[in-house]
Each structure stands twice: as structure tokens, then as C-alpha cells.
């Protein structure tokens, strides 16, 4: 017992030095944070226009009044986000599988997949929302959706499935060729190899970039507002117009942040562990 309890002087000295270094590091971090944040605050708060900006952007009374309305609109954003996300994940996976397939019979589908990705990834999302939202109803075909929420959701799904398909594809390509060989060698078919061996590894590896696209989609739901649906951004704009005060937009921004920031922390955590490349 006494033997193991002995700690050498050199070790004690080294630990004391480490503690000193850590304390100095914390002090430096604290001071620099105060200087940077304090400086920024000083610049903003002493600017000539600050009193006016505070009234038009950060009015507590307007915030309290508009928040419930903006929040009720935000539920529509959340609903659209959740449905579109599920559609995107499924459609994108189908496109990625087609694009990474090998058989000659699938050549036309492969080509179609390439065109799809080129087209919908190449066109600005806001343009797609316009084109689908106003163009499809203008065709006046029966059976096509006319609800702007549905049309806006379709436009977002087209755009994001093209992005997400490329993420999936990169994941599938990143799985070592030896994995496919091994799967075939144990007697699996190409399809079984994809499903049981390659896809599980691919999806695990691309989970962080997939979540990153989730965050982007969650924000871009606001683009649907140009078609008229009363979601958070739209309502904030309306209330802003009524009061000549921008605070409702800040309320909307806070709501988006309330969803995207936790998502971002999830992304951070996933990037830390697992997903190793071999």
C-alpha cells in the first residue's frame, strides 16, 4: 500500500506545471472573449442609429404581441419540414441507388438520375419554388395539386433530394470495394450486398452531412412563403407591415434557431465519434 502511494517529485512538479498552464489558458480565453464581445457591443451600442434600431428591431412590446402569431405559423414550417424530409430521404436514396448501379438494363434510369441531379441541384431553390408553385397550377390539368403548401413542398423536395442523393452516393462510393467482394463471396446477391453490407456502412458515414442538409432544409421552408402560405416568415412580414416594426422577424429568426441549433449540436456530436473510414 505504502509503495503504490509514493508519487515521485518529478511527477508532482509536472502536474503542478500543467495546472499552471491550464489556469493561464483559461485566463487568456476569458480576457479575449471579454475584449471581442465588449468591443462589438460598444461599436453597436454607440452607433448613431442604435436607438432607432433598438426600437424597430428589438421592441419588447412588439415581440410579446407578435410572438404567439409567429409561433402558430411556425408549426406549419415544422410540419412541412418533417414531411418533406421523409420524402427527400426516400427519393434521394432511390436516385443514389440508381446512379451507383451497374447493370446495362438500368442505363436509361442512370441517365435520368444524372439529369435529375444536374437539373434540380443546378437551379436556385427559390426559382424552383416559383416554377412549381405558379407553373403547375397554370397548366390547369385535373389531378395535379393546387395547394401552395403541397406545391412548395414538392419544389423543396426536388431541390433537396438532388443534394441528398449526391451525399448518399458519396457514402456508397466510400465503402471499400473489398466489402462488396466479401458480400458476394459469402453468396449474397448484388442487391443483398447493397442492403446488408454497403448501405448500412454508407449511411453511418454520411450521417453528419445528411443532418447538415436537414438544417438547411429547415431554414429553406421559409421560401414557401412566396407562394402565400401563412408560415412563420410570412406572418412575421405581415405583422411587420402592420406595425412598421421589424421585431416580428427577429421572433421568427429565434424560432428557426430554436430548431437548427439543437440539430447542429447533434451534427457536432456525430462528427466526433464513429463513421471511421477504412
Amino acid at each position: 500500500m505504502t509503495e503504490t502511494a509514493v508519487i515521485s517529485d518529478r511527477r508532482l512538479a509536472r502536474e503542478a506545471a500543467k495546472r499552471r498552464q491550464a489556469r493561464r489558458g483559461q485566463a487568456v480565453a476569458a480576457v479575449s472573449t471579454i475584449i471581442v464581445l465588449g468591443g462589438l457591443a460598444a461599436v453597436v451600442l454607440t452607433s448613431p442609429g442604435w436607438p432607432a434600431v433598438r426600437e424597430t428591431f428589438f421592441s419588447w412590446s412588439v415581440f410579446k404581441e407578435s410572438f404567439p402569431e409567429v409561433l402558430s405559423g411556425f408549426w406549419l414550417d415544422v410540419k412541412i419540414f418533417m414531411i418533406v424530409e421523409v420524402v427527400v430521404l426516400a427519393v434521394a436514396l432511390a436516385i443514389a441507388l440508381v446512379r451507383t448501379s451497374r447493370g446495362p438494363a438500368l442505363f436509361p434510369l442512370r441517365m435520368l438520375g444524372t439529369v435529375y441531379v444536374d437539373l434540380f441541384r443546378g437551379v436556385p431553390t427559390i426559382l424552383l419554388v416559383y416554377l412549381v408553385g405558379f407553373g403547375v397550377p397554370a397548366l390547369q390539368l385535373t389531378g395535379l395539386p393546387t395547394d401552395p403548401v403541397v406545391l412548395g413542398g414538392i419544389a423543396l423536395a426536388l431541390s433537396y433530394s438532388a443534394y441528398v442523393a449526391e451525399v448518399y452516393k458519396a457514402g456508397i462510393r466510400s465503402v471499400h470495394r473489398g466489402q462488396r467482394d466479401a458480400a458476394l463471396a459469402v453468396g449474397l446477391t448484388e442487391g443483398q450486398a447493397m442492403r446488408h453490407v454497403i448501405l448500412p456502412q454508407a449511411v453511418r458515414r454520411v450521417a453528419p452531412p445528411l443532418l447538415n442538409d436537414f438544417v438547411a432544409l429547415q431554414k429553406d421552408v421559409a421560401l414557401i412563403s412566396i407562394l402565400g402560405p401563412q408560415e412563420a416568415f410570412r406572418i412575421a412580414q405581415i405583422v411587420q407591415g402592420e406595425n412598421f416594426n421589424y421585431t416580428p422577424l427577429i421572433a421568427a429568426a429565434l424560432l428557426y434557431l430554436a430548431v437548427t441549433v439543437p440539430l447542429a449540436r447533434v451534427v457536432d456530436r456525430m462528427g466526433g465519434g464513429g463513421g471511421e473510414v477504412r
Partner: protein, 249 residues
């Protein structure tokens, strides 16, 4: 003499303009172990991959139990289910446990119930000294353990022949023995095997026949004592003397 399990006849294979196999003939009888030796790049791995139909051959044909498996009308999946292949780099599925690695083929291919497949998988792992490691992922196993899982996986479908592609080349020296012991064990059981290897003493011990592959052709084939002891071709002599110099024999 029983009918051959595997027969390779005049097989050629080129990758682009690089001819890797230039007319290989090889016959493997039931319960026989054939060691394939030769320098890196001589075509050993390619030959094994061609037999398992992971590569398409250009010319010649390969027979398994008398059936021409390289015929375009043959379903590769059906053939691969009758063969087992062990890779140099193990190629275990990293997202699955040792047990899941072993039973994946059994379950998906032969449609065996989960309980039955796992029972059999457990027994196989135990047989190769991996009792208690069933639920470990490959990451948590040593190289030697991983390769033994890979051997159990290749063996789980009760193949007609096992193809071993330099199964000890990626291992630290002190782990080579345990993997060779697993192969020895299969030989005792009478498994038909083609063993590409750099371990000459092992080839001498386990193989019934040694085939020396050089530049895409089999230059010499015969009992280990003759091919390894008194090779005839200058290429084989040179290859063996180089191994001798490196202290590898």
C-alpha cells in the same frame, strides 16, 4: 483417384493491356490442398478471384464438380455459394459483430432461421478459438482473430472448396501461427483447398501439391518436396533462393 473438384483450363485474364493470367491449368481433387506460390503480382490473387467469379476470365474455362462455372449462362451467385474465399485483408463487415459476420450468408442465402444459424455460427467460432468473442466488432479483435472469423465465415456455407488468398500476409508475425493452425485444422477435416501463400514451411507441411505461378503461368507443379526442394525451372530456383536469402524459408 476421385473426380476433381476444381479444374482450371487454359484460363487467361487481362486488366486492360496488362495480362495477369496467360493460360493457367490447375486441377484440385477432393480433400486435396494445393498451395499456390509465386512472387507478388504473379497472378495468385487474380486466379482465386477468377475461380470465385469475382473477376470474369477472358479465355479458357473453370469447372466445379464437372460443371463449367465460367459459362455465361451460369448464375455467379449459385457458384459462389458453393465456394468459400478468405481475403488477405480479412474484409470483415465492420458494422456487424463476429457472429453476425459468420451467419449473414447462412441466413440470407440458405434461409435458415436466426436461432439455428446463430447456434451453428457460435459453434464455428468456438471451433476456431473465438468463444466469448461472438459479440465483438472486428475493430475490437486482433488481426489473427479477425482472420479466424473470416475463415469461419467462408466455411459457414459448407463450401465444396475453400480459396485462401495470402491469409497471413497482413498479420503481425506472432499472430501468423494461430491462423495457420485454423487452416491446418480444416485440412485434417479433409477440406479441399487452394492456398495462395508466402509461407513456404506451411506449404510444405499442409499442401499435397505446390504450384509455382510466374508471370501468369504455372511453371511447376508437384509434391512440395520436389517443387520446394529441387525446383527445375530457373524462375522457381531464383524465387526460392530469394526467399531463402530473406530468411523466409
Amino acid at each position: 483417384m476421385s473426380a476433381p473438384v476444381l479444374e482450371v483450363r487454359g484460363v487467361t485474364k487481362a486488366f486492360g493491356s496488362r495480362e495477369v493470367l496467360r493460360g493457367v491449368d490447375l486441377t484440385v481433387s477432393e480433400h486435396e490442398a494445393v498451395a499456390l506460390i509465386g512472387a507478388s503480382g504473379s497472378g495468385k490473387s487474380t486466379l482465386l478471384r477468377c475461380i470465385d467469379l469475382l473477376e470474369e476470365i477472358d479465355d479458357g474455362d473453370i469447372h466445379l464438380d464437372g460443371e463449367v462455372i465460367t459459362d455465361p449462362s451460369v448464375q455467379p451467385v449459385e457458384v459462389r455459394r458453393r465456394l468459400g474465399l478468405v481475403f488477405q485483408a480479412y474484409n470483415l463487415f465492420p458494422h456487424l459483430t463476429a457472429l453476425q459476420n459468420v451467419v449473414l450468408g447462412e441466413r440470407r442465402v440458405h434461409g435458415i432461421s436466426r436461432g439455428e444459424a446463430e447456434e451453428r455460427g457460435r459453434m464455428l467460432l468456438a471451433r476456431f478459438g473465438l468463444e466469448g468473442r461472438e459479440h465483438d466488432r472486428p475493430d475490437n479483435l486482433s488481426g489473427g482473430q479477425q482472420q479466424r472469423v473470416a475463415i469461419a465465415r467462408a466455411f459457414s456455407g459448407r463450401p465444396r472448396a475453400l480459396l485462401l488468398d495470402e491469409v497471413t500476409s497482413a498479420l503481425d508475425p506472432e499472430l501468423v501461427g494461430e491462423v495457420l493452425a485454423a487452416v491446418r485444422d480444416l485440412k485434417v477435416e479433409g477440406m479441399t483447398m487452394v492456398i495462395a501463400t508466402h509461407e513456404m514451411s506451411f506449404a510444405r507441411e499442409v499442401a499435397d501439391e505446390v504450384a509455382f505461378l510466374h508471370d501468369g503461368r504455372i511453371l511447376e507443379q508437384g509434391p512440395p518436396e520436389r517443387v520446394l526442394g529441387s525446383p527445375e525451372s530457373p524462375e522457381a530456383k531464383r524465387f526460392l533462393s530469394r526467399l531463402l536469402d530473406a530468411g523466409r524459408i
